[in-house]
Amino acid sequence: MSEVFLSVNNVFKSFAGVQALKGVSISIGKGEIRCLAGENGSGKSTLIKVISGFYTPDSGEIIIEGNKHTALSPIESIRNGIQVIYQDFSIFPNLTVAENISLNSQLADNKRLMNWAQIRANAQAALNRIGVKMDLDIKVEMLSVADKQLVAISRALLQNAKLIIMDEPTTALTQKEVSSLFKIIKQVQKEGIATLFVSHKLDEVLEISEKVTILRNGENVVDGDVKDFDMSKFVYYMTGREIVSTTFAPKTGDKEPLLKVENLSLKGGFKDISFELFKGEILGITGLLGSGRTELALSIFGAHPANKGNIYVKGKKVKIHSILDAIRNKIAYVPEDRLTEGLFLPQSINRNIQVSVLKRYRKKLGIYDKKSAKENVQKWVKELSIKTADPELPVVTLSGGNQQRVVLAKWLASDPEILILNGPTVGVDIGSKTDIHQIIRNLAEKGFGIIVISDDIPEVLHNCNRILIMKKGRIVGETDNRSITEKELSMNLSQA
């Protein structure tokens, strides 16, 4: 048994009467790679904030390298070698790579002046430790997501990290980038640096971690060796219910496609894309990040109109030059990044759902019909089982899965016939994921034509009856959900 670096014992924390942590314990050995898993609201983020000193626990103790702390401050946590890499990496987009890597350690060392030569040298040394080459003088806003993450990791190393906590580090990475991230985690492990990996992407958890701690409703559910877990066990512990995955079979009868795309091309996006979508179908489009899948979706939705090719809706040729054109043709798009593209976070659920259909609630003289608008919203809140006390609450108060439902409701309120869902469950925990999949299937059964764009292979396989595979802006294959296995499909995707 390796030496213990950090142990958290029996920690309680409540917020305004809500008990977020009910006696949670976790321990991390030196150089250990541990996964912390749990659904949204399970207490994961509260626990991280307790470890990083942002929250003071109501009771319980934190022991770092044998020293007991009852109240840890953020700066103490950092001085003890604990570094958190948040999902947004907490970087400064306007500053250079060198400065981003070095600034935090300058602050921690109470430096008042900037020695630019030293800063560059420190940054270079940190990058060398993880074997990464990067232009030190480029502004971080110009970097890819993966490179931004490397900057954040280098910054953590420069502050003598002994434990790096990564919050959902792989959400926006391509498969290739994920494997190089894992290589780096293994590499820093050799230096005795532990990693706490917070994720609900189960396949990744199983690949990288040695130990697993699972929380549910603010309590420890299970703690153990990753070898003793498999996918279904994992899901069971996280959600507390057995989730059976079934494959989707559509009820189609129509001869005429609802949507037909013919030789669609967009410079810098995709080329010669043709496919058909029938009523009641769920068509999957899968491909890696940068395969043109999102560009294709945006193009059909009018946000990036195509340069060439034809689009037919119900056999009629239509021109889609703008989002308004798409909406008129009853096409709706639910974006990948619901937070920046889909929602007005500080506004109420009610208003968010109504925004796309405001015109419909116009009475005489253009006066807004509050009552009927509200009734309609209530209908969707019920239909999609959005968990909220009051639709007047801001969307920001909802969990990820529920926010995703609000985006769906917003578009469903506009009565679309064709629904394009881009990454419908990105960043959503497993329980909500299953619920959203069920909602999508119900919609298909009601006669919507649905396109699901996703690189989550099990999601595509279980929920789509046909799957198109995109690579380098082209469709390179089509398959149905019975004639291919998860492994084959994922191999197919990652091959260049």
């Binding site: 907490s90 306007n94 900037m114 810098g268 560009e295 802006g473």
Partner: protein, 337 residues
């Protein structure tokens, strides 16, 4: 080599410089009186005051805030100082006047800083309010009549020149000593912004406030510093105005804050914070000053100058906005053939 050229060409400062050069050539071709040392002196002379104000506005904008009270602070500092020295029949040098103006600026800056850093009032609202309060308070309690018979120290400072040239018609153009104040402010500010953690903290806050907090920057203290320092600069700028005019009129500066902010934004500072340079700021000030001073030389009447200045602001900021938009929209999927 190619890379560094592209790096320079990609910078906003580069476009402002080109615009200035083209503008100078055009004005010079139409009226060759423009391309002389004396006209250069005139432009520098009329740019000093705006230059000092702009350094303050630059810092605030980099931090992601805005200060529309800067001219009110400047007016209060210069007029109150002049009034006190005038009433007490002070006969000494300029130093006391400068110290007093800096002091008034500092106090008002701390007022802004308190509202913004501690009471969390959005900077635009806070400074809009303090700007009005300061102006009204001064006009009511301290006075609204201009003081033309300024104390001796201010008078002498106003007459003090670094260099004087005479053109063929016998008109004199001079480089005033107040230029040294601008240069001093520039040097101090450059050092703070580039070589201190405080200055980098200002950039960090402007880049991402939450990240700055997580990194351990003291946001409140940094914001307090920003507005206090800008108060000092505004106080100085106001005093410089009185010195150069040899006259203290409490109504002179009002409304100029928008031109100052425009000059900073033309110089490449993004209004959303985090970006900008002192070089760019000075180029922006130069462009605006040349526009408002020299268009008369090529026969553009003065109300058209305001039109053209507005247009330049629109184009100058429009280019930055357009570039940002294009970058956001750019597609970069490598499509296979």
């Amino acid at each position: 080599m190619n890379r560094s050229i592209r790096k320079i060409a990609g910078k906003n400062e580069f476009y402002v410089l080109i615009t200035i050069v083209v503008l100078c050539i055009v004005i010079g071709l139409i009226n060759n009186a423009f391309l002389t040392l004396s006209s250069a002196f005139d432009i520098i002379r009329s740019g000093i005051e705006m230059g000092i104000f702009a350094v303050g506005a630059y810092i605030v904008i980099v931090s992601g805030g805005i200060d529309v009270s800067c001219t009110a602070v400047g007016t209060f500092a210069m007029f109150t100082t002049t009034k006190i020295l005038y009433d007490s029949k002070y006969e000494g040098g300029i130093l006391l006047a400068l110290v007093m103006a800096v002091g008034f600026g500092l106090i008002l800056g701390i007022l802004n800083g308190t509202l913004i850093a501690y009471l969390k009032i959005p900077p635009l609202i806070a400074t809009l309010a303090t700007g009005g309060i300061i102006n009204g308070f001064m006009l009511f309690f301290i006075g609204s009549r201009e003081i033309s018979n300024v104390p001796k120290g201010i008078y002498n400072a106003g007459k003090s020149m670094l260099a004087v040239v005479e053109n063929e018609h016998g008109f004199k153009s001079a480089l005033p000593s107040t230029l040294l104040i601008l240069i001093g402010v520039l040097i101090v500010t450059f050092f703070i912004m580039r070589y201190t953690m405080l200055g980098r903290g200002i950039f960090a806050i402007g880049g991402d406030m939450i990240s700055a907090q997580r990194a351990g920057f003291n946001i409140k203290r940094t914001q307090m510093f920003i507005y206090a320092y800008v108060g000092i600069i505004s106080g100085l700028a106001g005093m410089v105005h009185t010195i150069m005019m040899i006259n203290s009129n409490p109504l002179d500066l009002s409304g100029k804050e928008m031109m100052v902010i425009a000059a900073v934004v033309i110089g490449g500072a993004r209004i959303t914070g985090g970006h900008g340079s002192l070089t760019g700021t000075m180029l922006g000030v130069s462009l605006v000053t040349i526009m408002s001073n020299s268009l008369i030389l090529i026969g553009i009447p003065s109300f058209w100058q305001r039109f053209v200045t507005g247009l330049i602001i629109l184009i100058g900021t429009g280019i930055t906005a357009y570039q940002a938009k294009r970058m956001k929209k750019q597609l970069n999927v490598e499509v296979a053939d």
